[in-house]
Amino acid sequence: MMPYSIENQLGKRIIIATGLVFLIFAIVADFAIIRWLEKEYDANLHAKAKTLVTLTKDLEDGVDFDFAEEFMTEYNVSDSAEYFELWTHGEGVFERSDSLLDNDLPNLGLEQEGYAFQDVPLIDGRQGRMIQIIFLPQIPEDEDRTPEKLASQKLMTLAVARERESLNSLITRTHLILVISSALILLIIYSLVKITVRRALQPLHTIKEQLKVLHADNLSSRINIDIPPDELKDVIIQFNELLSRLELSFTREQRFSSDVAHELRTPIAELRSMAEVALKWPNDIKLSTKFYTGVLESSIQMQKMVNNLLALARCEKGLIELEPREISLKSLIETCLHHYHHEATLKQLKISSNIPVNLKIITSVTEFEQIINNLISNAINYSPESTGIELSLSCNSHFATLTITNTTDDLTTDDLAVMFDRLWRKSKARSSSINSGLGLSLVKAYTELLKLDIKTELTDHTIFKISIGKIPIV
């Protein structure tokens, strides 16, 4: 079975359609040519018969047939003889050609003046065609043309026959020429259609070839057609955009795996090194005591990271059950700020907020609190000392938008696009044990879960704003 392909389908259908149209045209042409040949043949036979009619004259002493056989040798006995026979109505055979010998041509029994054609077998066995004409013989002008004479004239019947095998042969040759030329033309159409379809589908083949060599390790390749057809332009654009997204996801995924490994390797290395050194010199109590604290800190760091990764995984798998309820936004934010009061005081940060006391929102508090905690923690950690953090609120009739603004000294606009990636950290050293680089990823995941909007903005490279929008208000 032929495999399903656009090229085959398109080619087949175009060939069938054009072939059918051409076949109908060929049949009609064949029919018209045959009709024309037969008409010409009959016209020729008719002309011959008319010649013989003009030789038949009604004279005073009777009908005279002025036939000179030396000028019309075709009516003599020969292999290619033609035939005629003349009858007088009511009296029988008046004259017949020598070629008929004593035979008769069939009399069609016409009663009125006129003529008719008929295919007949000739006496020599050939196929023939015959014309039979009923006529009144001419009366010369110098003869008696009185009404009595005219009334007494007798109708005569002339039959002229000749072979029609030459016509049949011509018709057969015409059929043959039409069949052969039709076959040749169909073959040419087939080839042209194939070439045209193949050329038209060449961009698809190019795309196929380019896709064949596309692997996970060369996702930076793009589909590239020099002059793309209109029908494929959008497909190519969409596909290339898909590839870009795929490449980005793949790179992120690879970086994430490598980052997770790195994030875990370092605390594990710390734990192992501290344990080995402590075991090697067990009598160094001061060292062991110092390492206990180190082991605890490393464990807490790893625990935080694992907890955040699990929370992200639960979030992405939709395993978190939301419990929306009414809560005062101000009291929720004050609770969060209270957690970070010590850190903010150490850095001499001035925190201001304009959250109204009576504003209540409807949200799943645990997840919303996580969002606010992470954002406030980030704002405090990354603000330079003695700067300010502002929490502002804007509302419409249904929703509120909370914006946290802080000063920053090392963010760039490029960072805004990647800061929500898992394990992203501004510092390439990744040495901070306070942050694992998962806080903003969790914020993003939770905002999506709570159907909230999140936007970031960096003004003058120093003022960073992060807004949580679409917070439903009571």
């Binding site: 790195h262 710390e270 192992r272 090194s273 050194v277």
Partner: protein, 223 residues
């Protein structure tokens, strides 16, 4: 032996520092890339233990700068990056060894010793000085098959002189080997260690092994 540890994880750095100090090594350490480069350019170390992802300057840039300035100090990269490409890149930039975190402290120590032996063109971990033998792996010396009870500093002095047989080791060079760059050391402290070592060698009936070149330093003569 003097080491420089450039590692931004405080806990890892401290544990390494503590371990190597117990082994008697002189240690300088920092968690900052630029400061690490500055240490490496100013002082002479037997080996630099170098992390790759560092604040202010990454490890590969430090390595590149060192080699550009023709500093041939042994560099052992100690990184969480475990990809073959990372190792190749580090080694091609002039690192002498590459270890992936987490690691065994003993293996790290063994590799440091290998680098030092290679630096002195010695294949065996044993140094044979006739009646005196030094096992650099076990970090112990024996005279006439009797183990010498040496302190880490005394062992280091003996090992350093043995590795550089026939060469006078200046006082400054010896101090540099025994103490970190920030330790304040007087010549008397070094002389006290040398004197204690000589007493132990004398007890082991090797009174003339460690010689003094007045005004220059110490040496062990080639047999």
């Amino acid at each position: 032996m003097k080491l420089l540890i450039i590692e931004d994880s405080v806990r890892l750095r401290q544990s390494l520092k503590a371990g190597f100090k117990h082994l008697g090594y002189a240690i300088d350490d920092t968690g900052d890339g630029k400061e690490g480069l500055s240490f490496a350019m100013i002082n002479d170390y037997d080996v630099i233990i170098l992390d790759l992802m560092l604040p202010s300057m990454d490890g590969l840039s430090i390595l590149e700068q060192l080699r550009d300035h023709r500093k041939n100090t042994n560099v052992l990269i100690l990184s969480a990056k475990d990809q073959v490409e990372d190792r190749i890149k580090g080694l091609n930039l002039g690192a002498d060894d590459y270890m992936v975190k987490p690691f065994s402290f003993d293996e790290l120590h063994a590799r440091l010793l290998t680098l030092v032996r290679r630096m002195h063109d010695i294949k065996s971990p044993y140094i044979d000085l006739g009646q005196l033998a030094i096992d650099t792996t076990m970090r112990q010396a024996s005279a006439n098959n009797q183990l010498l009870d040496l302190t880490p500093k005394e062992y280091l002095i003996l090992e350093h002189l043995a590795l550089n047989q026939g060469r006078v080791i200046t006082y400054e060079s010896m101090e540099n080997q025994l103490y970190s760059s920030i330790e304040a050391v007087t010549r008397n402290t070094l002389e006290a260690h040398v004197s204690a070592l000589r007493k132990k060698l004398k007890l082991a009936q090797l009174p003339d092994l460690l010689k003094t070149k007045r005004g220059f330093g110490y040496y062990i003569a080639k047999p």
